[in-house]
Amino acid sequence: METYLILQITWWLLLGVLLIGLAVMVGMDMGVGTILRYVGRTDMERRVALNIIGPHWDGNQVWFVLGGGAIFAAFPLIYATAFSGFYVVMLVLLWSMIVRPLGFEYRGHLDSPRWRAIWDWALFVSGCVPMLVFGAAVGNILQGVPFHFDWKLTSSYTGSFLALFNPFAILCGLLSVALSVYMGASRIMVGAEGAIRARAQRAATVGASAALVLYAVGGVWLRMISGYTLVASPAPGTPQTPLQQTVTQAAGAWYANFSAHPALWLLPALVFVALVAGLLALRNGRALLGWWLGALGWTGVIGSVGAAMFPFMLPSSSVPAQSLTLWNASSSSLTLVWMLGFTVVFIPLIVWYTSWAFYVMRGKVSEEQVAADKHAY
């Protein structure tokens, strides 16, 4: 039981790490897509921006695939319930995301300005729509999602599609777009010079400022939102279903963990400190430092949401007693052990060869270089 408990908490933390990896790495490339038409006025300028992330977007995107796989393997009930519940939104997310690989790969094949304009818009849509959906999904999860189970745990979602687009969810969606714009813009600043870099800096400033405001407003708003409290359930660390719990709802309940453990306030504080410092770093031309501070900002955002909800992962607004927690939604002990083994071996390896890939492709991308390189996007 002890071991299982520790494994469950470890996987809950690891899921956080994977989500941060997803937000930082995929979010950066999506931010570039979102601001592509702004930072690049000419086709050549846009190609410079695309070629900065060109060698890496494919690898970065695997954080998204891995995020999906890890939720499936470690928290199958979350994977099953959330993705089917958010069906139409998931389709919008996937349909916009699958245009992206084609945008990168196919854009440069023809010289026609119309062809390229189509893919520029495709990259814009596939940059901002998924980020909006990610954020909005978290916004909805914080409010609870209307779903319930039958006796053999078949889940049914009873909400409407439009209900997912409520003001708080949109605010969370915009926060995630703003952070991705900041990350994408600071990445472009690392790799570009001249006018592109100057425009990227303006985009980054807007992104970080918007993120600061949205996060603060969201934090205040969250106090009024009805949070969830686990009153009674089978002991954590024992095999269980979500059918034997008592859960209450009250405004401000998502702040209970922060009241109980004041050290958790460091997480929201990290968001403010990192983003303000990031803005200053960019102003001083320290683009790479600014990027890393943005990554810390994401860590604070995702960390604070996790801290507020613990141990909940997917609260049910229609039948709160069937809410999913890390205790009732996680995989068996044996699966968690094996997955942990693979993660411990492969994540450092991935970080190592990804760093090597960035090292190989280091340096500035210029218009001359893009024009001369027949492999460039």
């Binding site: 690898g59 245009v99 690989p101 699966t335 890939a357």
Partner: protein
Amino acid sequence: MIDETVVLLSRWQFAATALYHYLFVPLTLGLSFILAAMETVYVTTGRPIYKQMTQFWGKLFLINFALGVATGLTMEFQFGTNWSFYSSFVGDIFGAPLAIEGLMAFFMEATFVGLMVFGWERLSRGQHLAVTYLVALGSNLSALWILIANSFMQAPSGAVFNPLTMRMELSSFAELIFSHDAQAKFVHTSIAGYVTGAIFVCGISAWYLLRNRHVELARRSFRIAALFGVLASLGVITLGDALGFVGGQAQPTKLAAMEALWKSEPGPLPFNLVAFPSQSEQTNYGEVQVPYALSLLVTHSLDGSVPGIDELEQRAEQRIRNGIPAVQALKALSSNPDDAAALATFRAHEDDLGYGFLVQRYVADPAHVTEADIARAARDTIPPVALVFWSFRVMVALGLAMLAFFVLAVLYTLRNTVERQRWFLWLAVWMIPIPFLANEAGWLVAEMGRQPWTVFGMLPTWMSASTHGVAYMAFSLAGFVLLYGIFVVVEMYLMVRAIRQGPDGPDVEAPFTPDHAPATVLPAGNRGP
């Protein structure tokens, strides 16, 4: 109770998106190794033409790869969006290989493909070669883990049902990844990808030879692909036979459907070369048979026998009867996990739980099952025979045709006479769609032959689907068809355009001397034009 239309639409959507994804994956698997082989020759000999070859085929590889990646994204999430009960019921086992695929394989493939494209000027020759090999290794490891996951659906091993969590749970990781089905299936499927890549390269090279364009590049590419292809197509057939042998033991209903074997009979069994199976009458029309052949194929003996559909239906009926108390007990355990009597009943019947689920399609309450319901559920255990029977024959016939093609291709290319055989070059061009058809047919045999189960013998397909409305499903299926339709047009356009343009830069005019070809098969008089 789940709407049958929703289940049907979910199946159509999964089949459409999986078959579509599977158009691009085999080519990635095969072409990545052919690229690695070409680049190896470049690095060891230093001849620039091999660099040009690697880059040209690499360009086509990437056009295909982009769509493989794009359509793979939706597959990773479709279990959750559309097969929600499946995902929670077997996610404890099935999710692991998918996640490991990301960790071990896809990350490697996707990270290094960026360096493969952008790294030509930044990496040393040896480093770039290593990067290309890592892409090939990554894509093949990716296939390994996906097929381990698929094999769990075909021949579940290493899992037990836990009534405390109401789902299947992992009991042995080793049994999961080393299942015989997984091994045979991985080798069979990935080698089918090599055949696909080899036919693709042969066909396009033949087209250049017919047009007298890029002749040096085309000759060499043709030769490498032909040699690669003849070995691969032999491998596919051998492993296909092994897979049939292993799979037939794990899924007797699939085997009976593949052979349209309606009645159990003692061996020796004849092989139906042609037949027109009628599911409703449970008989075949227009049979053309080869005596002894089926016994030889499926039991590897002359007089062996395998159960026919009539016998399999009777067995299923028994198991359904035995499974109903398991479902009843499980329902009691769901509301009270401490019910010891229910647990004892469940333990006595748990092996047939899946069969108990089957009959729930007709009556939700296990207490009210009638004989007619049991008979209907037993009949459901037989997959659509005509479809599986013919998909199998199409796959095998195309596989044999490709083997014959490669034998001739190797013969002609090693004697340097391939350019004189214009009919053969045209044949090579027309062969390009063949492996894709064979791959899709193979998918149909594997997945339609598994019906009515998503996890064979454990979880019926009708139960696995998410509880969406018909409108949602119609919307999503229409969206996928529209989007994927546009994608394939764009992809084909760019592919054909890139082929018409040919390799970058002027043709490398190194005279073709067969000095690096195996000298023993090159009699002096046969050196070609």
